[in-house]
């Protein structure tokens, strides 16, 4: 195989190397790649917002469906721009309060639902050692997250069992994620050696 003659593969390869150069130290190549990524992602984000929000959720319902209810969120959104005017900048707190309030309120039932699912998953549907480990693990972990009691005596001992279970779970998650990251790295190296340099097939 020969080295690539595709312009875009060269660009991708050089940008990959520029980002990896950060592993040595901060340098102008990394800075260039960083600013390029940040700038492009902002531009891309704006175009996504324009098409998926302004056009799809505001313009189309307003112009084609004559849905004037859209004016309420539009007005709330426009209030965010009041931050550019010092004397009315406090108005930007209204949409923020609306978003925080609605978001928190909506998350309450879904959090409870999630809780029910977790309790269901803990229920021993068959009697075996695995079910026992799960029950002991969940109860001791719950004790670790007790904040109204000091972790001393019996509570302290159970919470230590809980944090041990947590750390075992973290270890497993760490190993699993590292494996996924290594496979991403292998993919990048394959791109450099195969698609760009043509050293390997």
């Amino acid at each position: 195989m020969a080295i690539s003659t595709n312009f875009w593969i060269w660009i991708a390869a050089l940008l990959t190397l520029a980002i990896y150069s950060f592993l040595y130290k901060d340098n102008p190549f990394y800075k260039f790649a960083e600013y390029l990524l940040v700038g492009i992602s902002i531009g891309y984000g704006i175009s996504i917002y324009w098409h998926n929000t302004i056009i799809t959720k505001v313009y189309n319902p307003l112009v084609y469906d004559k849905n004037f209810l859209v004016l309420i969120p539009l007005l709330l959104g426009l209030l965010m721009f009041s931050r550019f005017f010092k004397n009315v900048s406090y108005l930007s707190r209204i949409p923020i309060a609306f978003v925080v309030g609605a978001g928190t309120g909506l998350s309450v039932p879904s959090s409870f639902e999630f809780l029910f699912k977790q309790i269901y998953a803990t229920m021993p549907l068959k009697l075996d050692i695995g079910s026992l480990i799960i029950v002991v693990g969940v109860i001791s972990t719950l004790v670790y997250f007790f904040f109204s009691l000091e972790h001393k005596g019996f509570v302290g001992k159970v919470s230590k069992v809980g944090i041990t279970f947590i750390m075992v779970a973290f270890g497993a998650a760490f190993g699993y994620t590292i494996m996924a990251r290594v496979s991403l790295f292998i993919g990048r190296i394959q791109f450099l050696l195969s698609d760009w340099l043509g050293i390997i097939k």
Binding site: V99, E113, F116, Y120, V135, F147, S148, I166
Partner: protein
């Protein structure tokens, strides 16, 4: 002679092409073995409207066949709902989405027809079917492929439900927890001191800010890539308030690179208020709380670069983090900053535990914001939550004991009891 031969060849080619023209539908009555196959439609229960559920029942012999579902509305417009579904999947939902907000409209009559085939359906056939205003139930042939058209469903109308009845257990537990919370709130207001245990890592906040000040370096506070509606981001903002107050008292600088513009605006308000509370509004600089980008790895690259250039003495990672967590924590570690992290994302916590000096694990982060403010309302929420945890533990222990009698000793009464318990948890 040659002319005749050529004409004959031409005639033969034309005849073959004419007779092999089978690009049209041919109705064959019911020759497809589809006894017992029918589809039904109904409004999706307990939803916000704009959604219809299509179910089908089928004999086992059709397990490996494919089903394409077509829709006709009351105005005669046809569209394809789904193509080449495995018959064994039993159900498909026709719902509006962000991409197609007007796909299904409430109050309009829709009729559904199923196309059953042994092979993946031909695109040309799909286009022909879409053009048809009505297809008679029965077997058809197209390009030598046989397929079966079901009879059309009755009219289905989608509507929004006022209540999600499947969530009644959630409502009941919410009411109970609300009463417990109000009880503890009354206790706290009447002067009873509600205890909250010390949270490891919070005492390090002062140490981290002090160390940065001594070194003449700024403090970096990273709220992650959550939105202002995410609970970890809200908890992160509460901790930011406390950190900013310390920063103002020590007359140092705080940098808050943000992922979301609304989070940035909220962070500006929080820091401004904290600086004012500390009596140093003059030190507040809104440009220190800046927007980076809403691209996950663009944000990680931007924050990493900023860390390398500004070299903060302390880095706080408090909020919602995903795959960028280790990139950020590792860079903070490499510049020798003291790092205090906290998130509820279980997949990212191992990285924080490995790369940071102190980590607030999951709910510890929420409790940390209570520990810092110690307001009666927040303290009572912690007490109520702890009581809820006791209830959950008792429920799990009860479930375990019942299961021993049910599965270990095979007692029917306990089996029924266990089934009831498990069903109640399936919301």
């Amino acid at each position: 002679m040659l002319k005749r031969t050529l004409l004959l060849i031409l005639f033969l080619i034309l005849s073959i092409s004419l007779f092999s023209e089978n690009d049209s539908l041919i109705f064959l009555e019911n020759q497809f073995p589809c006894e017992g196959f029918y589809i039904t439609g109904r409004d999706i229960p307990n939803d916000g409207g704009s959604g219809i559920e299509i179910n089908w029942s089928f004999p086992d012999s059709l397990d490996n066949c494919f089903l394409t579902v077509l829709r006709r509305d009351e105005f005669g417009n046809n569209s394809v709902v789904a193509t080449d579904l495995l018959v064994s999947s039993k159900q498909v939902r026709d719902v509006s989405s962000d991409e197609e907000p007007s796909r299904v409209k409430d109050g309009i009559k829709y009729y559904y027809t199923g196309i059953l085939s042994k092979k993946i359906i031909d695109e040309n056939l799909l286009n022909i079917l879409k053009e048809k205003s009505y297809l008679k139930n029965g077997t058809y042939i197209f390009n030598n492929d046989t397929f079966y058209v079901t009879s059309e469903t009755d009219a289905v109308i989608s509507k929004a439900s006022w209540f999600n009845l499947s969530r009644i257990p959630v409502l009941i537990s919410l009411i109970i927890i609300a009463f417990v919370f109000l009880y503890y709130l009354n206790l706290a207001k009447s002067g009873k001191e509600l205890y909250i245990r010390k949270i490891n890592g919070l005492d390090a906040v002062e140490e981290a800010v002090g160390r940065s000040t001594e070194m003449g370096k700024p403090i970096m506070y990273i709220l992650g890539i959550g939105y202002v509606t995410d609970i970890p981001t809200i908890a992160g903002l509460t901790i930011l308030s406390r950190v900013s107050k310390k920063v103002a008292e020590y007359e140092t600088k705080i940098l808050v690179p943000s992922y979301d513009p609304v989070v940035m605006t909220t962070a500006q308000e929080v820091v401004k208020e904290a600086f004012t509370e500390a009596g140093r509004p003059d030190l507040y600089n809104k440009n220190d709380i800046m927007y980076i980008t809403q691209d996950q790895f663009g944000y990680a690259a931007g924050v990493d670069g900023m860390m390398m250039r500004e070299k903060p003495g302390a880095v706080f990672l408090q909020g919602l983090f995903f795959a960028e967590s280790l990139i950020l924590a590792e860079t903070g570690h490499s510049i020798g900053a003291i790092q205090i992290s906290g998130t509820t994302e279980t997949a990212q916590l191992p990285f924080f535990v490995a790369a940071c000096d102190y980590t607030l694990i999951g709910e510890e982060m929420m409790a940390a914001s209570v520990y810092l403010q110690k307001e009666p309302m927040m303290l009572s929420s912690i007490a109520a939550e702890d009581l809820l945890k006791v209830f959950i533990m008792l429920l799990i222990i009860a479930g375990f004991v019942i299961s021993i009698f049910a599965f270990g000793f095979n007692i029917g009464l306990f089996k029924n009891l266990f089934d009831h318990l498990v069903n109640a948890l399936q919301v």
